[in-house]
Structures are given as C-alpha cells and as structure tokens.
C-alpha cells in the first residue's frame, strides 16, 4: 500500500508526466511514420533515457509503445498505409470510411477505441498479472505452433472473393519468412550470400512496401483524390449512438488482445486481425464490413492497444519479453540495473507502480494529443496530391533507413512495393501476405521444435491440451469462413 501511495505521488511528479507526454507524442509520430514500428520507435529513444531516473525512463519507453500502437492507425485510415504491422487490419474499413469523406469520424473512433483498449490492458496488467503469467507459462512449443496456425486461419476470411488468391498471398508471405537463418540448425536459407539477409527480412519492410510504396505507385497516375474527402476535414468523436455500436467490437478486441498480449511471441498483429474477424462474425451488420464499418475500426484498434498493457505481463512477472517492444523495455530495465521478474515487485515496487501510473497518464495524454493533432493530419492529407506523394515517399525512404542504417533495406522496400503493385493489379489481397510474413517464423520454428521434442511424432499437437484447443478453433474458423463464402446462399453478395 505504501508503494501504491507513493505511486499516486508519481502523478504529481512533473518529470514523469513530462516523460509520458514526450513518449506519447514521439510514439504517435513514430507509429504514424511508415517504417518506424513501435519497437523501433522505442529503440531510437532508448539511448536518450540512459541518464534518466529509472521510473522516468521506463514510463517514457512504455508511453512510446502506447502512442505508437495508436499512431499506426492514422496513416492506415488516411492514406491506406498502416504505420505499424498491427494497424494493417484497420486499413480495410478505415480507408473505406475516409474515401466516403468520413475520415474525421474514423480517426475519432480509432482514438477512442485505442483509449478503451489501452486502459483495459492496463487494468488487466494491474489486477491480473499473477494468474496471467501462468497462462504464459502454459504455452509449450506445440501450443505456439497452434497459436500461429490459428492466426493464419484468418486468411480464409480475409481473402474476399478469391480464396485461391488469398492462399497464394499467404504462402508467398510464409516463403518470405523462411529467408534467413534456419531456426533449428542455424544454416542460412535463401540468403544468396547477402549478409544483410542472414537475420531475415523484417516484416515492417514488407508492410511498408506492400502498402505505402505500392499505393504511391498506383496514385501517381490516378486522378486527383476524390473531392468528397474535403467534406469532413475535422476530427469527429463518436456520439452516443455510435458508442452503442462500438462496445461489442471493443469488448471483442479487449478479450482477444488480452490473450494475445500475454502469450509471448504473438503480439498486436494477430490480435488485431483476429479481433477484426470476430467482430465481423458477431456483428449485427456484418455486410458493412469492408465497406466502411465503424465496428471494423473499433475492434482491431482496441485489440492492439490492449496489447500495450498485457504484453508487459510476461516481462514484469517472469522477466521474459514477449515481443520486440517488450525486449526494448527489458533493455531499459537492465540499463538501470533493474531485473524484471518475480522479484521486481519486492525489490522495486515504486518503479512498478510508477510505471502503472505513467501508463495511465500516457493513455489519457494520448487522447489529448490526438485531439490536437488529428485535424491538422486531415488537413495535411488534403494537400495537393503530387506534394503529398513526394513527402510520403521521402518519409518512407528516410524512416526505413533509420531502422538499421541500411541502404539494402530500401531496396527490399522497393521490391515489396513492386510486388504490392502487381498484386493489386491481379486482384490479390495483401493482408494474407502480411499474416504469412508475421507468423511464418513463429509457426515453423515451433512446429519443428515440437517435433524435436516428440522425436517426430505429430501426436504431440493433439496431446498438448492448449495446442488441441487452438487447432480446433482454427479448424472451426476456417470451416465457417469457407461455408459462408461458398455455401451460404443469401450472404454471397454481402461479404464480397
């Protein structure tokens, strides 16, 4: 309790509040810049935090995470270019709404859903760390493999009109994920002797290419953007009637986000896609999805912001980082001589509670910052198109270089851009490819680890209860999607 009272005092600590504000502002910007993912935004800031007080430093880093997970949705909605991996699902309905001239409304929904998700994730982190840590420990290699397969099963329903094309995109994504060092034997695969490929291709590079670069290649010859855009040039927060539609997708997002955040290795991207998928399944207006549904923004945006809280569960309670972003935060702890893990709550409770309070402040500040910057953002994308394309490409080429100081990465992004352009022309959906790239390594490495453990016996996937449950869920989801797509007569038009 003493620690809790001292934590409340943190609220009045100017440095902590300033750190939360600075972190959130940079997070939103970094997240919105194509190429700078949450973990990279945090890594870029990490060196600045070395000299700070530990609580101030950790609050700042965690605030970046909160801001960046939200910030990724801004370009996803405005220019169909997700700033982060986990905002990819938001492009579907977000950009559709923007095209209908409802960009301000879409941004308001994603901001509010981010707030709901972020606060829910924090609540879970504060009250349920102990039991949830046990969930994280229950995940053995077969369970992780099954979790990845469950994520991939969403491909079936993301494919829209052509299941085969969706599958092709997914397989191509999985193939991209096989480049690099083999997870079991350590030999290099498909690297063609290029050292830059040894540690694989970062999914964010593929994302930026598929969405941002391909979109610009397409826009350069398209007519000027629809004038309808201009109708709605101000941010519009959801009214009561809209909130009534939002609570269900947000609840779905919160539930899925909690689960995915707690299991190390999964993270916000699967959470966002699965939340989108489930929100559509349980919606009373599933036919609106893909055509500008407000629910289609609320679910993924709530889900990926829940993860900013729950991803800290395995880090704080076990000392095990569950995602790249958590790994950077772990670095932040270590640099200050703090070791996250079971003893952290005993040894440095003030830091832990200070972090909770800082996260709370960060979520509130995120909304305030959003209210200030979103209207100017809408103004920005309504600038003359040639300039917009020029600045987006300049941002992409700068942001991607910033990840690893690598010119080679720029080449990968352009290549992915060409692939994305061709895919658009062939009517191939891009989201399955994103899923493949993000999940490929998780599925393959854990599949093979499981078989090493069982000495080649596949029954390990059925004997492990967690794995069995997840696999059954994957089969059910796929079966339902295929049935709805091909056999359920009346909704044929609705979901196309």
């Amino acid at each position: 309790m003493d620690a809790f009272i001292s934590a409340l005092a943190t609220l009045t600590n100017g440095w902590v509040m300033l750190a939360a504000l600075g972190g959130v502002v940079w997070g939103i910007f970094g997240g919105a810049l194509p190429g700078i993912s949450p973990s990279i935004a945090m890594a870029l800031l990490l060196p600045f935090t070395y000299g700070m007080d530990p609580t101030v430093a950790l609050v700042m880093l965690a605030s970046v995470y909160v801001g960046a997970e939200y910030g990724g949705s801004i370009p996803a909605i405005l220019i169909r270019t997700p700033g982060t991996n986990s905002a990819a699902a938001t492009t579907i309905d977000g950009f559709e709404l923007a095209r209908q001239g409802r960009a301000g409304e879409a941004l308001g929904i994603s901001l509010m859903s981010g707030l709901v998700g972020g606060l829910f994730g924090l609540l879970v982190l504060v009250i349920a760390t102990e039991p949830l840590a046990r969930v994280a420990l229950a995940f053995t290699p077969p369970a992780y493999c099954a979790l990845g397969i469950l994520g991939l099963s969403v491909i079936a329903s993301l494919s829209g009109r052509s299941l085969v094309k969706g599958l092709i995109a997914g397989i191509l994504g999985l193939m991209i994920a096989t480049v690099g060092t083999d997870p079991v034997s350590g030999v290099s695969r498909f690297t063609m002797g290029v050292p830059d490929l040894l540690s694989g291709i970062r999914p964010i590079l593929i994302m930026v290419g598929l969405f941002a670069v391909a979109e610009m290649l397409e826009q350069i010859s398209a007519p000027a953007w629809n004038k309808a855009d201009r109708r709605d040039t101000r941010l519009k927060l959801p009214g009561l009637a809209v909130w009534r539609r939002l609570w269900k997708p947000q609840a779905i997002g919160c539930a899925i986000g909690t689960f995915e955040g707690v299991t190390p290795g999964a993270g916000g991207t699967i959470a966002a896609f699965m939340a989108y998928n489930e929100a559509r399944r349980w919606s009373s207006k599933p036919e609106e999805f893909g055509k500008g549904s407000v629910e289609g923004i609320a679910a993924p945006e709530a889900a990926n912001n829940v993860v900013t809280g729950t991803a800290l569960v395995p880090l704080l309670s076990l000392g095990i980082p569950g995602s790249n972003s958590a790994a950077i935060l772990l670095g932040g702890f270590l640099i200050h001589g703090l070791v996250p893990g079971p003893m952290l709550f005993v040894k440095a409770p003030d830091v832990v509670y200070g972090l909770y309070v800082g996260l709370f402040a960060a979520n509130i500040l995120m909304v305030l910052v959003g209210l200030v910057i979103l209207t100017p953002c809408i103004w920005l994308v309504n600038r003359p198109k040639p300039w917009l394309i020029a600045f987006i490409l300049a941002l992409v080429m700068s942001g991607v270089y910033a990840i690893d100081n690598s010119v080679f990465d720029l080449g990968i992004v352009l290549t992915a851009g060409v692939v994305g352009y061709v895919m658009r022309r062939c009517g191939m959906p891009m989201l399955p490819m994103v899923l493949g790239v993000v999940l490929g390594f998780l599925v393959e490495s854990n599949y093979r680890r499981s078989l090493v453990l069982s000495r080649g016996d596949h029954s390990i996937f059925i004997e492990d209860p967690v794995s069995l449950g997840l696999l059954l869920a994957a089969v059910a989801l796929t079966g339902y999607s295929v049935w709805r797509e091909y056999f359920k007569p009346q909704s044929k038009e609705a979901i196309a």
């Binding site: 870029l44 083999d182 079991v184 034997s185 498909f190 040639p386 020029a390």
Partner: protein, 157 residues
Amino acid sequence: MTLSRDDLLGLGMIVLAAAYWAAADQIPVSLLSDAVGADGVPKVLAVALAICGALLLLTTRLKRQPAEAPSSDRDEKRAHLRAAGLLAGLVAYIFLLPVLGYPLAIALLIAAVAIYGGTRIRPSVAAVAVAGSALFWVFFVKILGIGMPTGIWAAGF
C-alpha cells in the same frame, strides 16, 4: 486463345514454386538439423504454391465468366509506365544517397516526385524541397541521431 491475367498469375506461381523448390534443395544439410530439415517446410510451401497456381488456372477455365471488362488497354499501359517512372526515381535515390549525402538526395527526391506528379516547375518547388529536406534532416539526424549518409561532403556534417 488468349491468356487472361489470372492464367498468367497461375503460371507465374507454378514457375516461382519450381524455382523456390530448387533453391530449397540447395540448402546445405547440417548435422545439427532435425528430421524435418531446413528445407522441409520450404518444400511443403513450394508444393502448396504450385497447387494453388494450378487451381487458379483450373477455376478460370471452369468459370468461363466474361473477363472483367478491361477498362482500356491504353490507360492501363500509361499507368504502368507512370508507376515505372516513379520507381526509377526511387531506385536512383538509393544509388545517389551514398554519393550526394542525405540532405541533398532527399531534397532532389521531393522536388523530382512533386514535378513528376504534376506540380508546375516554379522556384517555389525548390523552396519547398529545401525546406522539407531541412525539416527531415533536423528530425532524423539532429533529434533522432540517425547516421544518415553524408556523401562526398563527409567533413561538412
């Protein structure tokens, strides 16, 4: 008969699958490896891709639906050329970046793309490009401390 776009895509995927299989076959076998092997999953993916490619060929044959009315071949071609031109500009940026250094290269990129996109050539274009470059440089190099290439003016920055 003429091949539709889906036919080409299906064929392309089968060729890609074959090439990927061949590359997977080249992966050296390590004694540290498992029963599945470093090439196991890739080979499964190659087969799956080939099957999907074949399915695509098959379904377009079966459906025989009127091909999506091509908007206009000439418009299409023009769009591809425009995209290729933009791509060439971006590739040029990659090669010029280490030579010219970041501030100059990014200013040229901004100006070139804006003009290519249809902005009229006026002095203000150069002004906006320089201002943009300065803003980017302050943000990435000064604030974030990214070691952007300095090019041949190494001493200056």
